[in-house]
């Protein structure tokens, strides 16, 4: 995965927040590589080395550095021994806790309010009111319904137990029972997916959470996936087949292009309409998507998608004699 480093910002607060994590983390993990610290903090290794330099200059008054902490970098590994003042990071700030709580509420599950309470209690006492106020200002999405299933799925992930699920496959319109080793949950384009190894198919696959009808946690425990297996993981397979081409009217284009998605704009007219290409979607998806603009969009190609769209329009029209 290529990931750009966060934009550099020489903010004193940012540095402090980082070192308040770095120090206890390095104490707990003696000899942690600089690279690892950089990855965890989302900054460059150079930045981490600068932070460590900064720490060397810091001391508890009367400012003898060794009074504060003993820190050295050996090769690329960091060793820290220190006064116990900074052996644990500070409590969550209200915005840290609120962001995490908002994310938890959007995922849902029976545990979500327990989790929100625990986060609230981990904020300093006199900041808790601000935490509540801030949390009310973020709504990160409606949870994927079916709380009861989610609790069991989370338990299975945490305990590495297999799951037996009844799953609805939308493209075939049918249900099947699968045994899955649940590796993780992930979110893409507004939907939640369970990603795990499907025993029957012998490979890791995504399952949309709102299409899991039932699930039961098995006694059987599974081996954790290897790092390599995780690194190869994809929610969607690479786009195959020709991309679908759509004509969007001005209104449809304004809505569609502001949404996340892999659009390629082929043409843009003066009134704001557009011709776009979308890779890796089914004919069925293209038809539904075009119709959701109520006449302001149509499927242009490839021929099979155009046919699918035309058939759907004619059949729907037949309902309005």
């Amino acid at each position: 995965m290529t990931r750009k480093a966060a934009p550099p910002k020489a903010d004193a607060r940012d540095r402090l927040r980082r070192v308040l994590f770095l120090v206890p983390y390095a104490v707990r993990h003696p000899g942690v590589p600089v690279r690892d610290l950089a990855r965890r903090c989302g900054v460059s290794e150079k930045q981490i080395l600068e932070d460590l330099d900064f720490l060397l200059g810091v001391g508890c008054p009367p400012f003898a550095p060794d009074d504060f902490l003993d820190l050295y970098v050996e090769g690329d590994r960091v060793h820290v021994a220190l006064h116990q003042s900074f052996s644990r990071p500070p409590r969550f700030t209200e915005s840290e806790a609120a962001a995490l709580a908002a994310a938890a509420r959007a995922l849902g599950g029976e545990g979500r309010e327990r989790v929100v309470r625990a986060l609230r209690d981990a904020v300093p006492k006199d900041r808790r009111a601000i935490f509540e106020e801030l949390l009310a200002c973020i709504f990160a999405g409606s949870p994927p319904a079916k709380d009861s299933l989610l609790g069991r799925i989370e338990q299975a992930i945490a305990e590495r137990r297999a799951l037996r699920i009844r799953y609805f496959t939308a493209t075939r319109g049918e249900e099947s029972v699968r045994v899955v080793h649940p590796y993780t949950l992930a979110q893409r384009l507004g939907h939640w997916y369970l990603w795990g190894h499907d025993e029957g198919r012998g490979k890791a696959l995504p399952f949309r959470l709102d299409r899991i009808r039932e699930c039961a946690v098995d006694e059987k425990r599974f081996e954790p996936p290897t790092d390599a297996e995780l690194a190869r993981g994809r929610l969607f397979s690479e786009a195959s087949g020709p991309p679908v081409k759509l004509r969007l009217g001005p209104l449809a284009a304004a809505w569609a292009l502001a949404r996340p998605g892999q659009w390629r704009v082929l043409k843009r007219d003066r009134k704001g309409g557009a011709v776009v290409e979308v890779p890796g979607v089914s004919d069925e998806w293209a038809t539904r998507f075009a119709l959701s603009f109520g006449g302001d969009a149509e499927v242009l190609g490839p021929p099979s998608a155009r046919r699918h769209f035309g058939d759907a329009v004619r059949r729907a029209l037949a309902r309005y004699p």
Binding site: R88, P90, A104, Y193, D210
Partner: protein
Amino acid sequence: MQKAERLLDLAALLLRASEPVSWREIQEQFPEDYGGSGEAAIRKFERDKAELLELGIPVRWVGGDEDLSAGYLVDKEDFYLPDLKLAPEDLALLYLAGSAALAQRAFPYARDLAHAMNKLSFAARAPGASEVAAVASLQLSADDAEEDARAESSARLEALSAAVAAKKRVHIVYLGAERRARTERDVDPYGLYQRGGAWFLAGFCRLREDIRSFHLGRIVSVEVNPAAPRTPDFTVRKGFSLADLATRESWEFGVHAPVRCRVRLDGPASPEERDTFGPRATWKESDGGVVVEVEAQNQEALLRHVLSLGDRAEILAPRPLREKARKVLAALARRVS
């Protein structure tokens, strides 16, 4: 002394002290920074104290009594991150929700969220499998193809997050969908919500004198009122609920007076299909299918939703909307034939 250094030294001093540290003592320890007797030194210290508080370091003043001298201290109990004492499945929820949110990059308080995720490993016993799952989630949820667009919107989202927290008015340039016109307006930012994978700003629009939602992808620029950063510019109107606004269906945004509409769906409706009509829809079984009834304040939007369900769905009432459906489909049929 540099500010970051001064703040950390101050925190170290107060954390190590077994008794409250007097102002005089603090001045002695930091002669260059808080030296002198003027108001300026006290104001500088108060600003630093406020910053420490925002970093999660609760510095407070205690008045002295017979046993204890007056001064500043950091309550250890209130400083160190406690164990959250969560069951494994609840911990998994936190890890997975946090990682997936982080992977979006565009998430309110995204930087704070990253710090929170780091701290989480100290606040949980044996996160083991959950931590591994979180790394996987982060990777699966990320979308490299959209990286640039997200980096851009995450900067706007960060500015708006800060404005929401501090209740500061923002000046935005907005690209409307309907008229495709650029407008500039002042907005009191009430909150941020996500719907269908996109973020929206909700707030009181001073141009329209009403609560409005703004699609983040169409906010061209954001300027936060720079005056008096710690003083709020507005109070949120009574009765405002972000969740209500965020879960409103497209046909529930008031364009006209409410109209009862009925839609027929053939075959049994799956739970997902039912979800798409929202929590306020009512359902009735009706010979081999279902009839759903909703109150629409924007019938066009309902029409679009029904059309997207294809030939399984049909508008039954009101008659003009049914007629509109026929016209739209007939026009499309002419184009594709």
